[in-house]
């Protein structure tokens, strides 16, 4: 006699235990601490904070540990945690021109006030495996030099003084928040930027790359790329003024894009903007390119039908937590649906076979 498959609950518990064991790996090898991940897997931590939309390196490191290094899974853990947090209030806008930069480069000017700082970058490393690291060699201290922190004005603002770059419209409007309101189209630029900054790095990179290869090409230069920490200020009602409540590390990218001018506007450069938590420059540059591509309507350009210009396409598919969930859900049982298709195909095949046979007999 057939006994229906039971025991889903036991199976789930057993799977979870096995997973925990696999996560730990060989117990003869020392366990990774959250602090080690936070300090030595910094760029992974940064990505998890950026796409998880929660600035907390310790929690991001914990999520990476729990997710066995699967960053999308780690981002998911952070998002699910973030959504339960109460909102105490809103900070003042971050002032990135007051950023304490560890890296600041411009591809459009050889030098600029505030100087160029390469910072801790992979850019000019030769990608040769360093076998010394396998032996856990300690690194010598990097050379240091005293600097006097000076102002680091935004480089694109120099172009703005000549009117060579389009001025962004000022707005005191509270930016929309797609984690609190359902996404509705057309989306304001602020909302698009929010979606891009928490969007999947791979997706945003692919979209940006497609614009460089000619799908809505917009000739981007990196006007400025800066990485550093910014103070976060909040107005405390009881005090009546704003105080520092902490600082966040950010990567900001402003691109300068060619623009031919339109019937109503003289030729002028335009901008794309990227701002991402942590040291995440690939993402910030990608974000700026996609932001620029999405601005075609506002700038009076043609819609070329390119994916990166298509707001609905980009915003609906940038979120890796939505994407991975829906993609992976096809693992769940679908036998009821499949059964109904099975019946339909059988019925249609029976009808088709009969029709063919009758046709053959007539011939």
């Amino acid at each position: 006699m057939y006994v229906a498959v039971k025991g889903g609950e036991k199976a789930i518990d057993a799977a979870h235990s096995w997973l925990a064991e696999e996560r730990r790996g060989d117990t003869a090898i020392p366990e990774l601490s959250v602090a080690q991940i936070r300090e030595q897997m910094t760029l992974a931590v940064n990505r998890v904070m950026a796409e998880g939309s929660l600035y907390d390196p310790d929690l991001a490191a914990l999520a990476i540990k729990q997710a066995r290094g699967d960053l999308i899974e780690a981002i998911f853990l952070i998002r699910a945690y973030r959504t339960t947090l109460p909102r105490f209030g809103y900070t003042l806008p971050i002032e990135t021109e007051r950023m304490d930069c560890i890296r600041r480069i411009s591809a459009t000017f050889k030098d600029a006030p505030g100087g160029q700082v390469l910072g801790p970058t992979f850019d000019y490393t030769h990608r040769l495996l360093d076998f010394k690291l396998a032996a856990e060699g300690e690194v010598p201290d990097a050379p240091t030099r005293d600097t006097t922190p000076g102002p680091v004005p935004h480089i694109t603002e120099f172009l703005n003084k000549e009117g060579l770059i389009q001025t962004e419209a000022d707005s005191d409007q509270t930016p929309p928040d797609l984690t609190r309101e359902p996404l509705e189209l057309p989306a304001a630029r602020a909302l698009r930027l929010q979606s891009l900054t928490r969007g999947d790095e791979g997706f945003v990179l692919g979209m940006a790359y497609s614009t460089q290869r000619g799908y809505a090409r917009n000739h981007a230069f990196v006007g400025e790329l800066r990485i550093g920490t910014c103070a976060v200020e909040m107005e405390i009602p009881e005090l009546g003024f704003a105080i520092d409540i902490g600082e966040v590390e950010l990567t900001e990218c402003e691109t300068v894009n060619q623009f031919k001018g339109s019937k109503v506007e003289p030729p002028q450069f335009t901008r794309g903007y990227g701002l991402v938590f942590g040291q995440t420059e690939r993402k910030a540059i990608s974000m700026a390119l996609v932001d620029r591509a999405l601005r075609w309507k506002e700038l009076g350009e043609d819609f070329e039908g390119a994916p990166a210009q298509d707001e609905e396409f980009v915003l609906y598919h940038a979120d890796n937590i939505q994407a991975t969930g829906f993609l992976e859900h096809i693992k769940l049982p679908h036998y009821v649906d499949f059964q109904s298709e099975l019946e339909l195909v059988r019925k249609m095949r029976a009808e088709a076979t009969t029709a063919l046979r009758e046709a053959a007999e007539c011939a």
């Binding site: 006994v3 498959v5 309101e181 189209l185 939505q322 991975t324 969930g325 009821v336 059964q339 019925k347």
Partner: protein, 290 residues
């Protein structure tokens, strides 16, 4: 019950926002109400929409039932039931008649529901027009203008190509003569049951939509006069309980192509066997036997 979280996991503000969407959905049957879906601790695609709707309608006195593919013991049904036991501390049941709130994926229970029950569906793609028009901006316009010609053309093309409408599940219905609605991926066998005494709520988490059918709302499966809608099922009786009117799963039982058919609604099948019905391969019912 876990003390670290609010009752049924979501905070009260979020539940209020969801309840408003539900009320709007009930006021405009079949209309997809956008709502600010939250990230849940289970992945999108696992029923986050249904879970949020259930969380918003559950009260501490309620008894809950969760089914997936008609069964209470499928892994995801077990997982969601556990979630509500943990975060809401509600009583749970496998018996359809004992449940106040039933969350379902892909089936409507065989046993008719009552006015004091709520059926919550998990919905993957709430938009019935999505596979004809991928753009949300377009499909919303089509609903607003009641422009459903494209759907009828699709059904017509099915017939001219295959001799039948080739939609077997998620078969679209027209609600009270106005909105075309996706009943979620239930087999079309279940479509006639959509007109029922219970409140039906549909939650799509990833797509951020909630819609509803109030009790006794008309939901007509789309068809043509000469090709009327047909609620089909496997042409067999259940091999365990002998029922020949329930929806059946086909189970492969050996590697020689042998198979049997069993009720997809496990509680319904159990109930019939408890009453003494025996199918072709069934054995007399014993509690907890299968």
């Amino acid at each position: 019950m876990s003390e670290a979280y609010n009752f049924a996991y979501l905070d009260e503000q979020t539940k209020r926002m969801i309840r408003r969407a539900i009320l709007k959905g009930l006021a405009i049957p079949g209309y997809q109400v956008p709502f600010a879906s939250r990230e849940m601790p289970m992945p999108y695609g696992w029923g986050t929409g249904g879970v949020q709707v259930s969380a918003a309608v559950l009260t501490p006195e309620d008894t809950m039932k969760v089914i997936d593919q008609g069964a209470d013991d499928t892994t995801n049904a077990v997982s969601i039931r556990k979630f509500f036991q943990k975060t809401a501390g509600v009583a749970v049941t496998e018996r359809t008649s004992d449940a106040d709130v039933i969350q379902t994926r892909h089936r409507i229970p065989e046993e008719p529901l009552r006015e004091d029950q709520i059926l919550v569906y998990q919905v993957p793609i709430p938009e019935p027009l999505r596979f004809l028009e991928p753009r949300e901006t377009e499909t919303r316009k089509m609903h607003a203008l009641e422009e459903y010609g494209l759907m009828h053309v699709k059904l017509y093309e099915d017939i001219s190509r295959n001799g039948a409408i080739s939609t077997a599940y998620a078969y679209p219905v027209k609600v009270e003569g106005r909105y075309v609605m996706d009943p979620s991926p239930i087999p079309k066998f279940d479509n006639p049951k959509l007109e029922m005494a219970a409140i039906q709520l549909f939650g799509a988490g990833r797509e951020q939509r909630i819609y509803a059918l109030p009790p006794y709302t008309k939901a007509v499966s789309l068809d043509f006069e000469d090709y009327p809608f047909e609620a089909s099922k496997a042409d067999h009786a259940c091999d365990l309980c002998g029922c020949d009117t329930s929806y059946l799963d086909e189970v492969i039982v050996d590697d020689a192509g042998g198979r049997m058919f069993v009720c997809s609604d496990t509680d319904f099948c159990r109930g019939r066997r408890a009453e003494g019905h025996i199918g072709a391969q069934g054995a007399p019912f014993e509690e907890d036997a299968a």
